[in-house]
Amino acid sequence: MDLPIITRRRYGSFKGGIELPDDKDQTLAVPIHRCRSPGRLRVPLSPCGGAAAKPLASRGQQVAAGERIAAAEDDSAVDVFAPLAGTVGGLTAVTVAGRYGLASSPAIELTELSEPRPIAPAEEVFDWRSAGPETLRSLLAAGGLATYRESIEPLAALIARARGSRCGVLIANVMEDQPYVTADHRLLAEQGRDVVRGLALLARAIGAARVFLVADQRRTEAYRGCVQLAQQLGIEQVALSHKYPTGADAILVNILTKREMPPGGSTMQVGAAVVGAATCFAAYRQVACGQPPTGRVVTVSGDRLSGAGNFFVPFGMGCVELAGQAEPPLLHGGPMTGSRCGDDVVVGPATNAVLAIGAGAPPAGPCIRCAWCTDHCPARLNVSAMNDAFELSQVDRAERLGAMACVECGVCSYVCPARLPLTQRMKRLKHAIRALLPIGGT
């Protein structure tokens, strides 16, 4: 019997964007594997960039895998669990991907570790299907879950915001449209049923009426296993074009709901919450199976790397250690929106890839006004005029031209023949506008 694959509905597209090279062959068909044994873990205490959690374990104490080692005291923090069994070595400081890029965070060091384990099938110990939304929300809030995405925050905070703005739409974004990165793809292909259950669980917690599972139209064959379950759970499965940046939240919400996010705002303002596959998976394992979040799937790939693949990595493992023999520089995250990875960067909830690709750029020249940045901008911005505004420090002019609508996808820098760091300049402009505008301004 041939199962129906994800149907391809015509949702249209957006103006601009670009077809990036795929470069995923190294890891696309490789199953998720357990990662190599780390020498030590430095588990970040504020993986979401907010306040740090308060350590519960003391130096020299033996902790078991999954044991709570730090407790959140604030809404912006999450509980921290020991990813592996080991001995607490003390407090240290690491760099981890927070809400606004890589940031410093205190961390608990664990040594004498047990072997890391692969993702194992788990039994449901809690009947989440008959649980009410209130119960689910309290369970999710107690679990120390974060949104496993670039703009990371505690999952409880996301749910609270979504409920505050009455989000009727919940979108699981598995587009993964950046080159090299296949972590969400492998997770959905191998643990698709758990991801879909987690999505339904989150939808019930948020109270969303419409639930979308959005995937790349080239990869739908791999997701056959979760199709029927998703249909039973009332999840609309959508396959979209792989044009970059279809996976940017604002663009995705626009494609699916025809609503445009206000400049500088959030998709919640137009009634749509966006989560990732890793978020759904972790939420399901936490609530239904009672497994605390101790790690995530990370793509380790790149031209300069021999042992490429997807690994289930415990939080706190150093990115350099994870990449193994590859020489620096390493990249943290996808090549379009990621950042350069220093020696003290550890795997956190927002780490979806550690890449060893050529991180050099040719020297920048003057803007020749080729207009490619403007043609490809998904937010329809006149990026060359923004560049003029940046060079002349005209922040208010950039604001009038709509700089806040920028989704920071990186396409303008990618296409620029003069190799200008346009995305970087747009980020600076947005930062300056946020600093200049009164609170509550657009």
Binding site: I18, L20, P21, P179, A250, N254, E260, M261, P262, P263, G265, P329, L331, G333, P335, M336, T337, G338, S339, R340, I357, G358, A359, G360, A361, P362, P363, G365, P366, C367, I368, R369, C370, A371, W372, T374, D375, A379, R380, L381, N382, S384, A385, R400, L401, G402, A405, V407, G410, S413, Y414, V415, C416, P417, A418, R419, P421, T423, Q424, K427
Partner: protein
């Protein structure tokens, strides 16, 4: 001492060294600004090759002089002013080649050098080089020499090589011949390599702006446009009459492609109003068949004449995404529409001169269609639309702005061509619109993502 050793052992950095990237994105598209200029340069070699064929080796000499002097002058300028040269010499090569395409093939070398100097210094360098200039630099040079050498640059008769002397002939060894009807039929007179002709633009101007006191002289009638071949006197009666049922588009196509009488399914009837005296008008006052305008067998600038090659090169640039098709199409379409409706003066029967208000329709669509195509193809308009108006730095950035820009160029160019006695109307129109580019860019702004429509008109934002 160890520091010294390290300094000695460090290899010299390569000229285009990669700088370390610290912020996203970490990958980039393969095309650089240099590639853009080089590919445009390669595309511009197409019209140059056509010019080489029809104007002989001197076209290559002019092009070489322009390219070399542009590069040399740019280097000299940056040496003297001690500013760093931006993007090497690639853009100077491109400017030189585009300048050469706009120059007539017979210009002496010093005019080419002066044009290059104006193009590089006035057009480009004093604004700060690549990416900062206001006007297309090649056009600045062309305009300067058009003003400085009005007689040399715009003579009454222009040369063209004969069919047997293509590519190798000397463009300065040409002679006027009496019975030139079309390039394909004519043979270069003995001892010469080609002919000296009135350019089609001058013939058109004589047709649409009859000089005062022309009464009594046999002027070509408007309808002679649709009939490119000079009919033999006395054979007109033998032709089968074309009935009223003949569709206009067939007649228009016959006129467009200059169908030989023997090849045509029907032969063309002389149009009403074309008197036998007018049909026996002196050959130099007759326009060449329009297919010769398409392949480039007409007098003109080196790269201006061959419409087919210009269009093919333009399509390649569009394919490479260096040119948005909207700009040249808006340019030509606007010029076409203006030529179709702009009132002109025509020599009527009995030596009278009358004003015609919609030339496209006045003697039937086929005659008007051919007339408008002559207006488009007889000058430098195609080269201006495809290669010069699309120069990246001096055109607007947004697509809508480019449509505005192209439309303005086309309207201005055709108005100047029809009503003003200027030698290079399309180039002047492009330069004029280049001046307006910043204004168009601030006028035409696409709606940013998430903003309401027409926010500036609503007064919400300035």
């Amino acid at each position: 001492m160890p520091m010294q050793e390290a300094a000695i052992q460090t290899p010299a950095a390569p000229r285009r060294a990669l700088r370390p990237a610290f912020e996203a994105p970490f990958i980039s598209a393969p095309e650089s600004a240099r590639t853009v200029f080089l590919v445009t340069l390669a595309a511009a070699c197409g019209p140059l090759a056509a010019g080489l064929i029809f104007f002989g080796y001197r076209a290559a000499v002019v092009a070489a002089v322009c390219v070399v002097s542009c590069a040399a002058i740019e280097r000299l300028y940056y040496r003297v002013t001690r500013t760093p040269a931006l993007l090497g010499r690639t853009h100077a090569y491109l400017t030189g080649l585009l300048l050469a395409l706009t120059l007539p093939p017979f210009v002496p070398w010093y005019i080419a050098v002066i044009a290059s100097a104006f193009a590089i210094i006035v057009g480009k360098a004093i604004f700060g080089g690549v990416g900062h200039f206001v006007w297309q630099p090649a056009l600045v040079g062309r305009l300067a020499v058009a003003v400085m050498f009005p007689v040399t640059m715009n003579p009454a008769d222009w040369p063209l090589l004969g069919g047997r002397h293509l590519l190798t002939g000397d463009i300065n060894r040409v002679r006027t011949i009496e019975d030139y009807r079309s390039w394909r039929r004519a043979a270069a007179p003995g001892g010469a390599d080609g002919f000296r002709l009135s350019p089609p633009r001058a013939i058109l101007a004589k047709l649409t702006r009859p000089p005062e006191g022309a009464a009594g002289q046999p002027l070509p009638p408007f309808s002679s446009l649709a009939e490119p071949r000079v009919p033999q006197p006395g054979r007109a009666g033998e032709r089968p009459a074309v009935g009223a049922a003949t569709p206009w588009w067939e007649k228009a196509l016959d006129g467009l492609f200059g169908v030989e009488p023997g090849w045509s399914k029907r032969r063309l009837e002389p149009f009403p109003g074309s008197s036998p005296a007018a049909l026996r008008a002196p050959p130099p006052d007759r326009l060449p068949p329009i297919n010769e305008l398409l392949i480039g067998a007409r007098p003109g600038g080196i790269g201006e004449t061959c419409a087919v090659v210009i269009v093919v090169a333009g399509l390649y640039l569009v394919y490479r995404n260096y040119v948005r098709w909207q700009l040249p199409v808006a340019f030509i379409a606007a010029a076409w529409c203006v030529a179709a409706v702009a009132p002109i003066k025509l020599a009527g029967p009995n030596g009278t001169i009358e004003t015609v208000y919609v030339p496209l329709l006045i003697e039937g669509f086929d005659v008007g269609f051919t007339y408008v195509n002559y207006q488009i193809l007889s000058g430098e308009m195609l080269l201006a639309a495809v290669f010069l108006a699309t120069e990246m730095t001096s055109r607007p950035v947004t697509t809508g702005g480019q449509v505005l820009f192209g439309t303005g160029c086309g309207v201005l160019a055709m108005i100047m061509q029809l009503y003003l006695n200027v030698p290079i109307p399309s180039y002047m129109a492009v330069v004029a619109m280049n001046t307006l580019t910043p204004a168009i860019d601030s006028l035409w702004r696409p709606r940013p993502f998430g903003r309401r429509h027409f926010e500036r008109l609503r007064g919400v934002r300035p």
